[in-house]
Symmetry: D3
Subunit: 264 residues, 6 copies
């Protein structure tokens, strides 16, 4: 690949990919509204507010692939989410339409389906059930991908990321953990697979506790290799057992589902 | 019912309900950004831009039920849809949350599922597949209803309206036609049913050609009574046979699915 | 048919069938633990405690068909339900096995599935979800029918009766009402159909509000003719609107699902 | 329509359509290997052995639509079925491919699914389960339609005809009967519908006993109007009750499923 | 865990757990109607007839978790099964309701679904299809768990145990074998999982031949580690090939499904 | 096993099995219309044209199992496929019916389902969707197996073989590759499993890219051990990336689906 764009490159997922995808494309174009530091070898830094259509248009031009991590990544005010996620993701997809339709990996979230219950096994046919305004914006991003593929043939993959951290930080993440290595493997498969169409899948490692079935996306050839199991003892020691009736336990979205209306 | 709010009351569906729901509630509060004419008996006219949160808050206060028809109702620029539909529908639901959670009927559209093929029988489990930016905003509105019900218990029904006109205007509408009478019957059922939860259903009359199965919503007790069949001869005489391979025929969204990018 | 046995013939459903099935078989053998009054023409009265195996054996001998209404018909102590419904229904099926395997219609109940939510459309594949000890005994009776058919070829139909009364008595029954005429039609179809195998279906008339889909049993040829709609105005006038969040509204079993532990 | 071809026009279904479709197209081209009598007004008689590719090519040329009834219509030797049905139906579809891809209605049969059990409700997703060599050839014809549509865009509808006679002739036909009028209505819908794609549906009237669900094909707009119920008393009087365990009762294919190997 | 109750502790599964769960809870309360020998360290022996409600009430008091193995464990007379399994399991669940709702693992059995055919892949949505009176009592126990969870929030897991022995004893068990180690792992997961709700799953190891899919219960985090494959040669040498048409082969319940009525 | 027949033994799959199944049965009866060379120890060579019924009858007599690889194995003229595949496979199954119903493994093909899209995960319930006349003949062979099992109890397994070669030869085969070893393991399971009924499954190794789910056939105990992954670098180096919109990529059948009408 000649040039791969990563939006939200200053965030935690962005920094992770910046490091691990070094050298993966001839040029890594990194963008964020926050400071990106110094450009390393093979890096292009392009500061950009995703809410600015013209800026996004320039950002996307010349790219062969896009990993779209940018935007608000937790619950926030509707206004902030509207600008960064609703408007920003539209700007990105529409710029891609105008510039050769590079394949897009969209960082969706488990919060797009967070009001499903823990006992519900989800798969490719499970409906969206957002648990927050943030989750609503991710569900919208998935639908945007559906639309741009159906109408313009722009291939894209939306990944409902569980919890991508170096290690699981609480008991819930024993189920939802996506190891950085597995995430990197997934990113590569998305750009290397012969065809991806419009695919929505779940981003979790091969943990012992499983809520999601990616069978419908097995054609992509992504097989997670890691498991949260190695961290179980540590996590369980640090975090007391939870009440099974706590809404943060009953629903897949955890604390997002349990929270009330977001207050500034 | 004491006070029923109808947004978008100056539009074609709004005028239809204004006339036919006269007397259905003690007060009919009618709102639009366009001119609403003179208030009739039992009517309250409240001009409002749905994109203005404070105005919407006042609009919703004191209402026992809401029929939300307002916003952009065909394909348009992203900016217009963002303001009227994304922002406007959020404003409405969130105001309802603050004001006693009156039941809401949301006018969704077949364009939320318009990229399904004509041969695909849809039902309550069929996924969204928007055919336009407009359709995307309707899919979002349905998800907003899912979220507000799951988190706040705000009951709402999203109706994927086919084509609600006095009579079908082309061959496609022989399948998608929703008679005004059937629509009015549906509106009443939504407010009279003991419980509606969050329900998404299809708005079409008992036409001979059927694309959609509302079995999952049979608990509501809405049974359409009309059929487009009485207009078949007239419609077929006025409109030539279509090419079965035309995208406007292959996809349920018709011309919306077939259109390219919206140009101002 | 030569001899048709009706158990529970002194109960309300039993009296209904006694009257309406007069003449349907050469002999109507009526049984109950309660008083059955005087035998009419073509009637045989056989008092019987269903918990007595030997008595049930005699009761069943010589019958060509059985309508099993007997046993406890509302929530009760476990002990009473154990004797009348668990033991009694076993006695009946096992006696039928020994005596030529006459076809059995078993009066199951919506309480076998009463913890499904009102918004859930049930069909032939929906799982049992009992709302009471009574409902548990009905779920057991259905499984008994499954077992006796699979192992011994004894054909039987379990009817998950909604509310079989001359007219609906509250708002819930507008959905669950089974008219006496429709019930009688169903009984006849069960004994006249060429083959019934082991079939579980729902007993409700063609009401406007529908919770249950009998498509899987359409091969039986039972098509309900009546509707609760004629009683709507009367029922709604007599019974105030219900809180949509009341457990008796949220769950199909109504007050059975909402009740706590049964106390003598 | 200018010219409609009917193959198998000398058979019972063929004669029925010949009479009832008179005037439906400018020219009715009738073909059979058996004698077709005299050409009536608007009729073209084209004797043809379907196993002869060149003859079939000429037969199909110039036609705007085809109703393919030709071939062996009951169980027979493999050799006869191979020539008339396997080879013949291929010849017909392939000629249509070469001559402008006129829409085809293929007379499939319930015997393509005859080994499903009577208690199994079939729909558009039910798999083929042939009960005879004849049924195998019909399953093949359906697959031929799938192939010619997927590869060449040749639209076609396969109708799994139950029992198309002036009236039902035995108890099984109370469920499987397709009235001649309903069949004619279906033929017309197939040629008048805007799009048919490749559709397989069941050909039965609105009988009280129903084995098949055509919901997936509701987009075609065919709604059967007749019912076998008017003939029930007569049929039941003439035909004794059947043993529910008889293979001809247990399987939908009736006597075809129950029969052993066909012997000349 | 402070106190874990194991009923049926004198049976083969009970002895297995008694040994392997030593030390797992502060106190292991062991109960059976048969002799339990001497109490070991950390053990409490509480002889109890499960059919005695008062005794069961005392037995359950003070326990934090229950493994319910007690009752009749093979086919038997209806009377014995009624007392031990129907009455006994009710006594246990209802005592748990009164005493703080400790989580329950209920030893259900493959005989609750034994009349499914070997070629049928079962999962969490497969319906009960008991093959014996014993299997009926297990299906009832599962429904009891459904009821106590839905109404009283009492969490429980029903395990449809295949064949739990040190090693598989015949060819069928190559598919149904549950290794003691995998069973112990499952018991621990049931009590350690954050939430179990009401879950029914299948108890088989990771054998090469698989009849059951536990995907719906993957949220529990139980992943069997053993396989019967190591015993294949030995089993196949000792047991001749079976007739594929033998009912004990055709149905999953094996000899239970093939057996006739149980005779004392 | 005493005598195992392999048809098509001179083809590439046939030679593979001839070598690897040496000694598996007392006698390996090898048949083809092409030259089979010299008989090795334990081999019987029986040249045979599958289109000749009498010859096939002799060929099958005395065999305890059949691996049916014979017939045309790529796209060809209808005439050739009719003789070798339609007629030939019938001859084989019908001879088996007459000679003790030996179990048959039928080499079906992914081309029986080749018009499914790459993004569609197929399983045991996925319908046939042939991509060629060759694929049509394989779909027919599967239905023949369904018929002979339902009517005559002749057990058989149809394997929709992906690409069985020593190693994958192009990028598509990274998904469809069936290693020779995995194929041999499957052949053995088919003849060693206690019961196979009529089963259709997919023949692919445990490749990273997966299109097909064999869960429904897990009862057979076939678990592929190999993966194409070891060949990925080599294949990707030798074959350039493909256009994701190429019909040979969009459809599972690859070039078979993309090809036009077969021309001699």
């Amino acid at each position: 690949m000649n040039r791969l764009l990563i939006t939200g490159a200053a965030g935690s997922l962005g920094r992770l990919l910046r490091e691990r995808l070094a050298g993966y494309a001839s040029v890594l174009r990194l963008s964020d509204i926050a400071d990106l530091g110094q450009a390393g070898p093979g890096e292009e830094l392009v500061p950009c507010d995703l809410a600015e259509a013209a800026a996004v248009d320039s950002l996307v031009e010349g790219c062969d692939g896009i990993v779209h991590l940018g935007g608000v990544s937790v619950e926030n005010t509707f206004e902030n989410i509207l600008q960064s996620n609703f408007r920003g993701t539209y700007n990105l997809f529409d710029a891609a339409r105008r510039h050769g339709a590079p394949r897009i990996l969209f960082a969706s979230s488990n919060h797009a389906i967070g009001f499903h219950r823990r006992e519900d096994r989800l798969d490719g046919g499970s409906r969206q059930k957002p648990d927050s305004l943030y989750g609503l914006s991710k569900a919208y991003g998935e639908n945007l991908g559906s639309y741009y593929f159906d109408k313009f043939g722009l291939e894209n993959v939306a990944v409902r990321i569980g919890s991508c951290y170096p290690e699981p930080k609480d008991r819930r993440m024993l189920a939802t953990w996506l190891s950085p290595d597995d995430f990197v493997r997934l990113v590569k498969r998305v750009f290397e697979a012969t065809r991806v169409g419009h695919t929505v899948l779940y981003g979790a490692s091969a943990n012992r506790e499983q809520w999601w079935d990616n069978g419908h996306a097995a054609f992509l050839g992504w097989v997670p290799q890691d498991s949260s199991e190695q961290f179980r003892a540590k996590v369980e020691a640090a975090h007391p057992r939870q009440d099974p009736d706590d809404p943060a336990v009953r629903f897949q979205g955890g604390s997002f589902a349990a929270a009330g209306h977001f207050e500034d």
